[in-house]
Amino acid sequence: MASFLARRLLHTIAVMVIAVTLGFALVHMAPGDAMTGDVTQAGRSSEASARLRARAGLDQPLSTQYVRFVRGALHGDLGHSLTDDQPVVTILGTALRNSLALAGAGLLAAITLGMVIGSAQGWYPASRSFRLFGRALTTLYAVPEFVLAIALIGVLAYGAGWFPVGGMNDPVTSLLGSATERVADVLRHLVLPALTLALGWGAAVARQQRAAIAESARIDFVRTARAKGRSEFAALVRHALPTTVAPVIAVIGLMLPAMVGGSVIVEVVFAWPGLGVQVVHAVAQRDVPVVSGAIVVISLLVATSSLLIDVVIRAADPRQRVARPTNT
């Protein structure tokens, strides 16, 4: 366990170093610096410019600036936006909250959907309708998220009119509505983007779950449970299901990096005011500090959560304590 932890920690640190370096490099490789883009520079003497640059620390050697960037990042200071007179952290903070709400809802729905469908498929391998269902889900998995999103908007928002087309809240309700109305409004806006994410991620979970359940049905204690007369349902839920929880969490851990990409695009389609929308907007505006800040924040989040997932799995599942080659 100790050597595993050490290895895993080293890995996480390496990922973080790369991300922070990437973020730093962006700020410095982008043409010009914060001072060249300053609109107040017209008519300023070169001496004044030099003093301003010195005040911002831009005259220091790159290594010093790098150390300062890292120290700032560790203290939650990611610089200042170029287009919006606010610290990057402030801008990203709200966006991050919205992103996590969407991703969390999507993930929760994906796990529920995937576990239920995957279990049913694995437990009743001969069932035709379940197999058909599984095939439909696999097909959905191959469809890119944003195409799925567009289809859902077309059918459920424009066609049936059940859900709003995009955004996070209705302007009138968010201004005049009571607290419960406002929450209900946000939830209504949340359904379609969360569903889009849930269908894609749920398919991956279901695939894993089907294999795990099919395997667990052959485990001795599950057979014993059936033999001693427990109902099929109890054998599935009480005996087979618990063995599959760790692998499903592991699959989610492996999916994390890819999930970021999916949610960025889904946010853009639904105009959900999260990190994805914010960062795509910043790219269009060439607002380098915001982009670099987002890269740092997102990769730190992904790296720490996958570390956490790995440690939790190790700690929870005794079978994992035996040394074995890393998963492919």
Partner: protein, 272 residues
């Protein structure tokens, strides 16, 4: 398999024959007043877009862009991934471990972040740059696969037999190990192609991909999204093409996996 291959071949053929198939110039704005969001008709089979460009011509040329970018990126990542994996599996264990750790570190970095970084530095990309960036972020999965395969195959009796007969390391690799890699890598390549197609479309869709007015399926979707209700053909055409291509590539991959390689290394492969 046959159906999937047929669909993919059809789309590839359409892409290759684009200049002959397309009735109009894909970037030409034919008549910005009369033909804005024109519905499908006899003169414009799949309608026209908000800039009065012919959707069919754009779809065919878009296939060209999307497929070329995806193909270059796939080949690139297969080459890099195989080289890296074979190297890591052939050197001594500690070094190989280190090489694979580097690969894993890159794998756990969300690749969309790399695209964002490149986009903010370089602005809209040319097709070739896009393909290189896509390929540079997609090789890690292949290299993991190849590493595991090479290690597994090298331990099999027939390789050991050849080694005991005095075969050099290069000969072992070339005559005994590499041929075994062909099918699994081909399957992985088909899957990667599907994946990269989807990623490229996604990037072009959010405006980080191919530079306009170059048509790609992703950018066509971007143009069409605001008119989803009034002009459904703008989004339906690229969506269906994208789904058909991705599904057939993934289907081919599945079949390659199932038919030739029901190995112990692919959990769940070959399942219906």
């Amino acid at each position: 398999m046959k159906r999937a291959t047929a669909v993919l071949l059809l789309i590839v053929a359409a892409a290759m024959l684009a200049p002959w198939l397309a009735p109009y110039d894909p970037a030409a704005q034919l008549d910005i007043v009369q033909l804005k969001n024109g519905a499908p008709s006899l003169t414009h089979w799949l309608g026209t877009d908000p800039y009065s460009r012919d959707v069919f011509s754009r779809a065919v040329f878009g296939a060209r862009t999307s497929l070329t970018v995806a193909a270059i990126a796939t080949v690139l990542s297969i080459l890099v991934g195989c080289a890296w994996g074979i190297c890591a599996a052939s050197v001594r264990d500690s070094l190989g471990d280190a090489l694979m750790s580097v690969c894993d570190v890159f794998r756990s970095l969300p690749r969309v972040l790399v695209f964002l970084g490149v986009a903010v530095l370089l602005g809209p990309l040319s097709a070739v740059t896009l393909a290189i960036v896509l390929g540079a972020t997609a090789w890690t999965g292949i290299s993991r696969l190849v590493y595991v395969l090479v290690r597994d195959i090298s331990a099999r009796p027939f390789v050991e037999a050849a080694r005991s007969m005095g075969a050099t390391r290069w000969r072992l690799l070339q005559r005994h190990v590499m041929p075994q890699l062909l099918h699994p890598v081909a399957a992985a390549a088909a899957l990667l192609l599907a994946d990269i197609l989807a990623v490229e479309a996604g990037l072009s869709f959010i405006g980080l991909g191919v530079r306009p007015p170059g048509a790609s399926w992703g950018s066509m979707l971007q143009d069409g999204l605001p008119y989803l209700r009034s002009a459904w053909w703008l989004t339906a055409v690229p969506s269906l093409l994208l789904i058909a291509t991705v599904l057939s590539a993934a289907g081919i991959a599945d079949r390659l996996n199932g038919r030739n390689w029901r190995g112990s290394l692919a959990p769940g492969s070959g399942a219906p």
